[in-house]
């Protein structure tokens, strides 16, 4: 019996109809029973993980204007189900933040962007935008450039935080601080140097990527995704492109898949190198930072060979990649694969058995297995807490099922476990790269070039010019691709965790709604849990150990 049937049997009228698109099941439920349904799914059916929660505006004038979308996952059986609640403008929905604590920030974001209020939420405040901001930007009737006649926000820092006790000091950390890794602000409540509570405040780098995406064609959205986790752009590109491909129902050729794997695994290594360097620097070991940048520079040179850009490559295309690998790339990559293990040993030599490093990381910022799942934490943090979960194994994409690699798992869930997990991940990524170089197949690099992406320039105006390609070029520029009506969620195992794109298509050339499930944001939500009772210095350790990128946190 499927989820829909058992839900229908249990809740009857409260369950609306179900739809399936590209193998993803969507069930409409009534808002009165939402909480009961969620509790039942969690406790009876084992849907212990809330992957994503977002809102969709169906357009002004629709009777049930808003949808709240819940994506649930059973981590044991790997089942996923999407629940949808439809509500009218001004109606309230029950909160699920007491069912899955991770929903807390999700619901604040929905409130921030759509103005949907959640009944029973503990602190329903705007997540990204300032308190006195007017309007809800992701509503379809909200102008994309904002209301230019009004000045919305004149600046000035407001502290929403109310101290828990009256004998404590409030220390404001950030948004300008050397160790918050960007414009993150954390309000710390201190007793001496001991932390009573911490309150992360995000949104200083909010650029409205989701709103912007609604104004651009599917291909034009791609460069926006580079700017999310700007330390690993290929991962973001991959997640987005895979989502669009899933929407279109196409599959890239094998060579393109391998090239994508090479690029994203390099991205994982590059991202972890930055993490290691900055994390060690936060704890006071400045030298590792310079060492990791040396290797990262080499990766950037590799990327430059392939994509022409070092940082924001936008190299993947719908149905493939832009160009084939240059000749000099594979030897250079082989050299990297051969020398890299020695470099990791070098970092380990400086840190792993260093007594000071051990006392600074062991037992610091512990996250238990249960809390990790409750708070929706993903990536190396989840694995550091002892959950063997990796999307590359759980839902293989882009040909990952053809590679042999291990999922490193930590035991304690402290900073040191996460450190070991990430180091091992770098070794495993190198292992994947090695296999990819050996097995790299020949063949085309695009699925039906011209139909889903731009045709070869040679065919448009060069020696092999033909009218067919010219028409394709024209069509691509004018309208791009038009996927069928539907909605998909596609996630990849990005260096920071589960990066997912939920795209709703209305059949036009632009995404109707694009939702980004950014791992950094959701992982950051667990910060107060990690640092309570520790010292000020441990906040820095914890932030470094979560490995956030503000481009992704603030979207």
């Amino acid at each position: 019996m499927g989820i829909f049937e058992s839900l229908k049997a249990r809740f009857g009228e409260a369950i609306g109809d179900a739809r399936e698109f590209r193998g993803e099941e969507t069930i409409y439920v009534s808002k009165e029973y939402l909480k009961n349904i969620c509790l039942w799914l969690r406790d009876v059916k084992g849907f212990n993980f809330l992957v994503d929660l977002c809102g969709v505006d169906r357009g002004v004038g629709k009777t049930d204007r808003f949808e709240v979308v819940y994506l649930l996952r059973n981590m044991d059986t790997r089942e996923q189900v999407r629940l949808k609640v439809r509500i009218r403008d001004g109606e309230r929905v029950d909160t699920v933040s007491d069912v899955w604590p991770t929903a807390n920030w999700h619901e604040r974001e929905v409130y921030d962007m759509f103005g949907i209020e959640f009944e029973g939420h503990s602190n329903l405040e705007r997540l990204y935008l300032p308190d006195d901001y007017e309007g809800f930007p992701l509503r379809k009737d909200y102008p994309v450039r904002g209301d230019t006649n009004r000045i919305f926000y004149e600046g000035g820092a407001k502290t929403k935080y109310k101290p828990k006790r009256n004998d404590t000091t409030i220390l404001n950390m950030g948004p300008q601080h050397p160790s918050t890794h960007g414009v993150l602000r954390v309000i710390l409540e201190l007793e001496g140097e001991t932390i009573v509570d911490a309150c992360p405040i995000v949104g200083y780098l909010h650029r409205g990527t989701e709103k912007l995406a609604e104004q651009k064609t599917y291909f034009q959205v791609l460069p926006l995704t580079d700017r999310l986790d700007y330390l690993a752009p290929p991962s973001n590109n991959l997640a987005y492109i895979l989502a669009v491909e899933k929407l279109l129902g196409i599959e890239p050729p094998a060579r393109a898949k391998y090239i994508r794997v090479i690029m994203t695994e390099l991205a994982r290594i590059a991202s972890h190198l930055i993490w290691l360097g900055t994390h060690a620097m936060d704890i006071g070991a400045a030298t590792v930072f310079l060492y990791t940048f040396r290797e990262r520079e080499y990766i950037y040179e590799l990327w430059e060979m392939v994509a022409g850009a070092r940082f924001h490559q936008s190299y993947f295309r719908i149905g493939g990649v832009k160009e084939d690998l240059p000749e000099e790339f594979i030897p250079a990559l082989k050299k990297f694969v051969d020398t890299f293990p020695r470099k990791i040993d070098e970092y380990e030599g400086l840190l792993t058995n260093n007594k000071i490093w051990r006392v600074r990381t062991e037992g610091v910022a512990v996250l238990s297995k249960e809390d990790a799942i409750r708070y929706g934490v993903t990536g190396p943090i989840l694995r550091g807490s002892g959950v063997k979960w990796d999307l590359r194994k759980a839902y293989p994409y882009s040909g990952y099922e053809e590679f042999r690699f291990e999922i490193p798992v930590g035991e304690v869930g402290d900073t040191f476990s996460r450190y070991l997990v990430r180091l091992e991940e770098m070794r495993q990524s190198r292992e994947i790269l090695k296999q990819a170089v050996e097995k790299l197949p020949d063949g085309p690099i695009k699925f039906e070039p011209g139909k889903y992406s731009f045709p070869d320039p040679e065919e448009v105006k060069g020696s092999r010019a033909n009218i067919e390609a010219l028409i394709h070029q024209f069509k691509q520029v004018i309208e791009g691709v038009k996927p069928p009506v539907g909605e998909v969620y596609q996630a990849v195992e990005a260096p920071k965790g589960e990066l997912g794109f939920y795209i709703v298509s209305d059949g036009s050339e632009k995404p109707y709604r694009m939702r980004i499930r950014s791992p950094s944001l959701i992982n950051l939500q667990a910060l107060p849990l990690l640092v309570r009772g520790h010292k000020v210095a441990d906040v820095v350790t914890a932030i470094g150990s979560i490995d956030i990128v503000l481009g992704e946190v603030d979207k």
Partner: protein, 323 residues
Amino acid sequence: MLETVILTIAKIIIFFAVLMFFVAYGTYAERKVAGGIQDRIGPLHCGPFGLLQPLADGLKLFFKEDITVAKSDKPTYYIAPILAVVPAILVIAVIPVDENIMITDLNIALLYFLAVSSLSVYAIMLGGWAGNSKYPLLGGLRSASQFISYELVLGLSIVCVAMLVGSFSLRDVVLYQKDMWMVFKQPIAFICYMIAAIAELNRAPFDLPEAESELVGGYHTEYSSMKFAMFFLGEYANMVVSSAIATCLFLGGWYAPFSILPFIPGFIWFLIKTFLIFFFMLWIRWTYPRVRFDQLMGMSWKVLMPVVLLNILVTGFIVTFGR
């Protein structure tokens, strides 16, 4: 009489100039050593091998905007940077560079050193207090407790030496080491002295009052321009002076190691040894992470204090019954 005064003034000027030279090139050494350790080059463009870099840095700091925090406690805000430099300079009065090259041979030189050098805590405490800001305040608080803890360890490890020598004069201490350096007789005291000295100097891995990754800049967050430079001048001057004292106490001052190469003048040996200890401090800084505040305090009271007290006890027995 007049001759003595002129001679003393001349000596003070020379000692001061040499100290300032070492301070300036201490920063250069720091950056070159850091560069070497970190697989890069370090300063290169100011003069040959970047040798004019300290001058350029000094000039730059002079011409930076001098900010005074509006809501600061003005007198303390101005006094703190001065206090950071003065104690380090005062200590050079008692350092014997060679058997007969020193400003004065004070018979309580060691006590004088402890008394004067412990004044520099006021710079950090007052600097942290005066800025009227929370990060410097935390830095100031940390430094106060750190100084109290490590000043004890430092003092007690010097006591071990003084017990053997039977004098507080630094000249006597060095003369006592003519045949065998103190480091071989008192290795534990030497280790304790080095740890305590690094902690007193706020150098990594014990640079908690500063702790840039946590406390932004700690006690000097609210200082700019030359006031900021004064703190650093003080830090490097203290480093040089501490290295010099360590050389006198444990490494046989001006004596050549095992009487080899006796034709090299004593003060050269002295400078070489001082620089070696200085280098050791740089080496440590660029290799180790920073310890946490509570761990630092724990180490002082739970490890170093018992060890050094035991060392005093054993030394006492040896001094009393060994003769």
